[in-house]
């Protein structure tokens, strides 16, 4: 087996940027305006009522010092270019070609308030990508307003609300049914939209029983929201029966494609009977994740639901693209304008580069890679696959448990995650809440990582499992090779100890601490 590589992170005793520099230090010195300019602008450009009286507290450092500060900070991260087998996150390389495409002036310098006649290029990309997603899902119309997967799930809840209100049944259809193991944003967004949430537990096959769904849906059900496969990596083969059961109760049913990688190009949400679905462009389609917000959840639905979509919708009429704002039944805005368009362009670039055949192949590779990993992880004593009694092969990821190893050594999944960083590997993804297996972890290789990378990752897991038996204290007190030692979770429970702004830092820690090393 590959031996884990030696690694030690840089460690700088780096002050906060507010503690650096000296009064008067500047990155750029701007010339005073020429007399003609000053005269043209005149006094009172900023009304006295809104002009601040004191000077803002900003860092005063040179451009060079700013660069050095942020270089040091970046050296103390793993940089997200390591081996990041994060299940449920579907980590993909964000291609530089797509980045350059999104930075081109044809995109970077346009504004959504321009006349659509001057936006035909970007609108044609949105329309073409809409067509690509229709081909992958069988839906009739996509919108890209949602800023992430949860926002797309919320779009579904908002569309359902508008749909039932239009039929005069919103007072009766008050419930949303989902699984305890679905994407957690499904119950959260449905609740935010005012629906009551009915959760179904996993039963013996590793997914909720069809009987439970049939018992849950009825005249009060507005919507069913479901993933398939879910986070266990198990594909529910009864899914057609699920869509039938939802429709038999008169309810809508939504396919959350958060875990699309294992089935992309292999199935169609529409063919399976779904009314709507969503794709996360920042996962499956290679666009950057961008920290939960500047991402994109592409939401698509059937023609029956299309009138309720958030406006505007991009339409094509005889080779001309237009923004359709005239949608009286629309659920309203989910987000401003048309969503994060640069991300859509990157996802479109990814899909164009992959092609239909490439997308199908990537799906195969991600399933094969996960099954390879499943086999190799099973050889490490102390690790246990979730629902180990179920023989069916997993899809693109598998929920695993460190339960037996924890029982034997006291070393658990958080300790493992901390120790992984010592080998230069991003701490693994554990599980969405609730944790339904003890000490969970969820690897997902996807189509990106090579067999060598996957082997290196498994070798690190095997090494730490050995350490758990030979020197558990070393694992429990990890990380040792990182700039920051163990992060204690209790800090986040105590607002007195953290600060999101400089002002809060001063208030909570006092001027003494603020001066710090400076």
């Amino acid at each position: 087996m590959t031996a884990p590589r030696e690694f030690h992170a840089a460690r700088w005793n780096e002050p906060l940027v507010m503690q650096l520099g000296r009064p008067g230090a500047r990155g750029q010195l701007f010339p005073a305006p020429e007399p003609e300019v000053a005269e043209a602008v005149g006094e009172g450009l900023i009304p006295a009522a809104v002009a601040r009286k004191d000077r803002p507290q900003l860092p005063e450092i040179t451009e060079f010092e700013a660069q050095r500060h942020y270089l040091h900070l970046s050296q103390m991260t793993l940089g997200m270019m390591g081996i990041s087998l994060f299940g449920t996150c579907t980590m993909k390389y964000n291609s530089k070609t797509a980045e350059y495409a999104a930075q081109r002036p044809e995109l970077a310098e346009v504004h959504p308030y321009q006349h659509p006649d001057t936006l035909q290029g970007v609108l044609s990309i949105l329309h073409e990508f809409d067509q690509i997603l229709r081909a992958l899902s069988g839906m009739d119309q996509f919108v890209f307003q949602a800023g992430g997967g949860a926002d797309a799930a919320y779009t579904m809840a908002a569309v359902a609300r508008a749909y039932w209100a239009d039929r005069g049944q919103l007072g009766q259809r008050t419930e949303m049914v989902t699984s305890i193991q679905a994407h957690p944003c499904n119950p959260a967004t449905a609740a935010a939209a005012g629906f009551r949430v009915i959760n179904l537990p996993l039963e013996e096959k590793g997914y909720p029983s069809l009987q439970a769904l049939q018992a849950a849906v009825g005249p009060n059900t507005a919507l069913v929201m479901i993933n398939n496969p879910d986070d266990m990596g198990i594909y529910n083969p009864e899914i057609r029966e699920w869509t039938k059961a939802a429709h038999a109760a008169g309810a809508l049913i939504f396919y959350d494609h958060a875990n699309f990688n294992g089935v992309m190009g292999k199935l169609s949400a529409r063919e399976l009977g779904f009314d709507a679905c969503m794709f996360m462009l920042h996962k499956t389609f290679g666009a950057p994740k961008a920290g939960g917000g500047p991402a994109v959840g592409a939401y698509g639905c059937t023609a029956e639901l299309a009138p309720y979509l958030p406006a505007p919708v991009v339409l094509e009429r005889a080779g001309h693209y237009l923004l359709d704002h005239d949608r009286p039944k629309s659920c309203g805005k989910i987000r401003e304008f048309w969503g994060n368009v640069p991300q859509v362009v990157k996802a479109w670039a990814w899909a164009r580069a992959m092609g239909a055949e490439g997308i199908r192949l990537a799906s195969d590779i991600s399933v094969v890679a996960n099954n390879y990993m499943d086999r190799k992880l099973a050889e490490i004593p102390g690790l246990q696959r979730s629902h180990d009694n179920i023989a069916v092969r997993r899809m693109e990821m598998t929920r695993w448990s460190l339960g037996p190893l924890k029982e034997e050594t006291g070393v658990g999944t958080v300790d493992f995650a901390n120790r992984m960083a010592d080998y230069g590997i991003d701490p693994w993804w554990m599980s969405h809440e609730p944790w339904i297996v003890p000490e969970p972890f969820t690897p997902e290789a996807g189509e990106l990582w090579s067999k060598e990378d996957i082997d290196a990752w498994i070798a690190v897991v095997a090494r730490i499992a050995r350490e758990a038996r030979e020197c558990p204290e070393k694992v429990r007190t990890a990380p040792h090779n990182q700039p920051v030692a163990q992060v204690k979770g209790e800090v986040f429970d105590d607002p007195a100890r953290w600060a999101m702004t400089w002002r809060a830092f001063l208030r909570k820690h006092g001027a003494e601490a603020a001066r710090g090393a400076a």
Binding site: Q211, A212, A215, A216, G410, M430
Partner: protein, 370 residues
């Protein structure tokens, strides 16, 4: 807080050799014949090893010999063996050791549900119990998740007992092993005991804000109370989850008994089956119930006052169930059980029921006949 240790040296013997438990001398002999290796003592040593490392010199009162003290030899602890008569090799030894630990002690035991029952039965006044999981069946709510977790919990308690949450309602339960060996599961509740609760591992791990299950249940209970229909007899309890509905009406619930409410007013407290049936008369009845921890019983464990005729009147549609999501997740199986004493009624109750877990939130659970 004084810590005492008692080990049931034969606990867990049956598990590895497929006997589903180790109750009774005949089973012990059979397990040993099948090659079982005793492990409770070694697991006790693991737990106290963690304690000794964290707090060297901590005082422990231990049952003598293989029942305790032997397993602590060489650890950095101050061990005082209890002065007890010669061991008999039976449950009597466990009970005698527990009784000798005195009022207010924290009795740490290595064993399974059978041992937990013996400890609970002999627990002195004001004493609490903590199990080092070493048995085959561990349905009781008094066990740490591992020997090491027990050791860490003990270290925390010695540092400051208030660092740990305590409950007076940890369930002591056991399964009829003969039935389990025959393939059926019929857990029984034997009582409640005082026990320490470890803060959920996952919350500490992820640093997420602590989720308050109690607040979620209280809000669910308010919804249930607000939806009460006039003229209907609501039979409530026992337990804190069902009692939250009584609380939502502004009354203190009878936690270990059954209360009755009609038109949002309590009309009986700690009522008997006869009293409840009399109150119900010919009118409509609904049952507000909690779920027993680990085993997941709705009816027939600890609430026999709710008689079969009353249950039949309510029917499955008349069950209003409250439990935290955490409690449902920790059930041995994703199923709730009923044992009304009437097999036909049990069969009629099987199906699905919504368990209120929070405001606007429910989990659909399967009901099985025990």
């Amino acid at each position: 807080m004084r810590i005492g240790l008692v080990v049931n040296p034969v606990a867990g013997l049956g598990g590895a050799v497929g006997l589903r438990g180790t109750d009774g001398p005949g089973t012990v002999a059979e397990a040993l014949r099948r090659g079982a290796v005793p492990q409770a003592g070694a697991r006790a040593r693991r737990a106290f090893g963690v304690l000794a490392a964290a707090r060297p010199g901590a005082a422990v009162a231990a049952a003598p010999g293989a029942l305790g003290a032997d397993w602590l030899a060489g650890l950095a602890l101050e061990v005082t063996p209890l002065d007890l008569p010669a061991a008999t090799g039976t449950a009597r030894d466990t009970r005698a050791a527990v009784a000798a630990m005195g009022p207010g002690a924290l009795v740490v035991f290595a064993g399974g549900d059978g041992t937990a029952r013996d400890v609970a039965a002999a627990l002195p006044p004001g004493a609490a119990m903590l199990g080092i999981p070493s048995g085959v069946k561990m349905h009781s709510g008094v066990f740490a998740v591992s020997p090491e977790a027990a050791g860490r919990l003990l270290a925390d308690i010695l540092a400051d007992p208030d660092r740990v949450a305590w409950t007076d309602e940890a369930e002591v339960a056991d399964i009829d092993e003969a039935a389990l060996r025959a393939g059926t599961i019929a857990p029984r509740l034997f009582g409640h005991a005082r026990a320490p609760l470890a803060r959920s591992r996952m919350q500490a791990a992820k640093g997420s804000p602590r989720r308050d299950d109690g607040a979620a249940l209280a809000a669910a209970a308010r919804e249930v109370a607000d939806a009460m229909a006039p003229g209907v007899l609501y039979v409530i309890g026992p337990g804190t989850s069902a009692g939250a509905v009584t609380r939502a009406l502004g009354e203190a619930p009878t936690l270990l008994g059954v209360d009755a409410v009609r038109d949002r007013r309590r009309i009986a407290r700690d009522a008997t089956a006869a009293a409840l049936e009399r109150l119900a008369g010919d009118g409509p009845v609904r049952l507000v119930l909690g779920v027993t921890g680990q085993q997941g019983f709705l009816l027939g464990r600890g609430n026999q006052q709710i008689s079969a005729p009353l249950i039949a009147r309510a029917g499955r549609e008349g069950l209003i169930v409250l439990a935290s999501e955490e409690k449902l997740r920790r059930l041995a199986q994703p199923c709730l059980w009923v044992d009304t004493g009437d097999p036909a009624l049990d069969a009629a109750l099987t199906g699905f029921v919504r368990v209120h877990t929070g405001p606007g939130r429910a989990m659909l659970m399967r009901i099985g006949a025990a």
